[in-house]
Amino acid sequence: MQYIIEAENLRKRFGDVVAVDGVSFRVVPGECFGILGPNGAGKTSTIRMIYGFSPMTGGHLKVFGLDIQGELRAIKSRIGVCQQENTLDPDLTVQQNLEVFARYFDIPKNEAREKARELLQFIALDHRKNAKVTELSGGMMRRLVLARSLINDPELLILDEPTTGLDPQSRHQVWERLEELRSKGLSILLTTHYMDEASRLCDRLIIMDHGRILVQGKPLELIREHVGYDVIEVAGPNSKLRAYVQSRGLEHEDLGHRLIVYGQEGDTLFRTLSNQYCREGCTLRMATLEDVFLKLTGRELRE
């Protein structure tokens, strides 16, 4: 089996700070693989090593079966990258951004022009091709970054928080484009801290914290394994309810002003709780990836 990415015991240190501390994972062709984690978990540091932006401190890393140490240029020419920061060229127009970028990949002029036309259509920006980048909205810029990362027909697309800071309409636009690319068989590596984004796009994912992998698996399986099917949230729980939850040995999390009960019983438990302990402020919902995430990485602020 030829893996798209094979990372083994990947490590990255900045001075005394260990950003990535022994991370191992494999990405198979055609899958969308997610790296999740709170701020400072080591997501960006991990993917920067993969696209050759920063050299690794230790471990082994192969992309397309090629060793990153010796064949970085070959690897770099076969991947597309959407960086977290806006790196669009403000000195150039929308179309020039694509064409100039194509030159960095040694794509011949005519081919680049044709490809740029295609991509501008794909991201619905063909009507703005002569606009300056600075005139575009945030959503348009992100779509243009996406288009630019596809200029070399990459075999692997790396996205570092592709929808951070976008309005809901723009996020859905980007997601639809990404789903289209995935359905065509493009392998995607994605970092995000939006759980809905990860659930929707990722076939498999890892959750990282403090430079290490906490869990690895398919979104739904992770939810089942770590949270269950349902979650009952109680706002302003009273002591009787707490006592009941404890006596039944239900898996729960007590946040003081809020009690969260994870479980498999769903409706029955919810009816019991809401009838007997909390007429108001008690909600039953499906378990999500966010529950897994918060359960594993905790609820303290990361700054």
Binding site: F14, Y51, G52, F53, S54, P55, R73, K76, S77, V81, Q83, E85, N86, T87, L88, D89, P90, D91, L92, Q96, V100, F101, R103, Y104, F105, D106, S149, N152
Partner: protein, 263 residues
């Protein structure tokens, strides 16, 4: 680390150079004006206004008019300014504010190629500015041809020298305001004391020795000799100085930039 730097530099730096050319083509109408007007202003102020006071100057046993004396120095100053400002302020903006280099690093390009492309673009801007200035100055009959044509390749060499040291500063300054320091301590003294507006022989001996260390002194000597059509073996020393300057600061700029950006 050294191995990485040596293999990372291929002719792909041309792609970066081309990017800057594409931008230049968008804004050439504005970029064109300073090298066109600046020599005119200087020639008017110094050549017409000041030469009435100065009269003529003795240069290498020849009597030359003051306007003739400073015209080649204006070219040298322009070579310095174009490359130095391109590879300080303009490169810093691309690196720090526009993240242009970050974007490029997500392509087959390596940082050494990006920086080499930037410096060679700086040299190219010096050549463009020199060509425009030569047009203006030749109009007043102040350049001796065909020797004067040597000014173009010289502009490239001088541009690489000043671009390299500019890029070296770009790699080490913490913020864009810090460029004031090398400009105040390095560029401005050169502008004044490199045999530009008066022969360095007029300086006290200790100052002359200092002036010899400045790269602009050697560039001015060469532009003046080429403009006067005085080609001699002694120019080899000035040429060697500039070349050595490039050979030190070009790799140093690449190395320091690698150090700054590759974390």
């Amino acid at each position: 680390m050294n191995g990485i730097i040596s293999i990372s530099l291929s002719k792909r730096f041309l792609r970066v150079w081309q990017r800057n050319l594409t931008v230049y083509q968008r804004i050439w109408k504005i970029s064109f004006i300073p090298p066109l007007l600046e020599p005119l202003f200087y020639l008017l102020a110094f050549g017409v206004g000041l030469s009435a006071l100065v009269g003529s100057i003795l240069y290498h046993d020849r009597e030359v008019s003051y306007i003739n004396f400073i015209a080649p120095a204006l070219i040298a100053i322009n070579i310095m300014y174009n490359a130095f400002f391109e590879n300080t302020y303009a490169s810093f903006v691309r690196m720090y504010y526009q993240k242009t280099f970050d974007g490029m690093m997500a392509t087959p390009l390596f940082i050494e190629e990006i920086i080499a492309g930037e410096i060679i673009w700086g040299g190219t801007k010096s050549v463009i500015a020199t060509a425009i200035m030569m047009g203006v100055i030749s109009f007043f009959g102040l350049i001796h041809y065909p020797h004067g044509l040597l000014l173009l390749p010289l502009a490239f060499l001088g541009g690489i020298a000043f671009g390299s040291i500019g890029m070296f500063f770009t790699a080490i300054v913490p913020s864009i305001e810090t460029f004031n320091l090398p400009i105040f301590l390095f560029v401005t003294p050169m502008f004044l004391f490199s045999g530009t507006f008066f022969p360095i022989e007029n300086l006290p001996l200790w100052a002359q020795k200092l002036a010899i260390l400045l790269p602009l002194t050697h560039l001015v000597k060469l532009t003046r000799s080429f403009s006067f059509g005085l080609i001699g073996a002694e120019l080899l020393w000035n040429f060697t100085y500039l070349l050595t300057f490039c050979l030190i600061f070009f790799p140093l700029a690449l190395f320091k930039m690698h150090h700054r950006l590759i974390k």
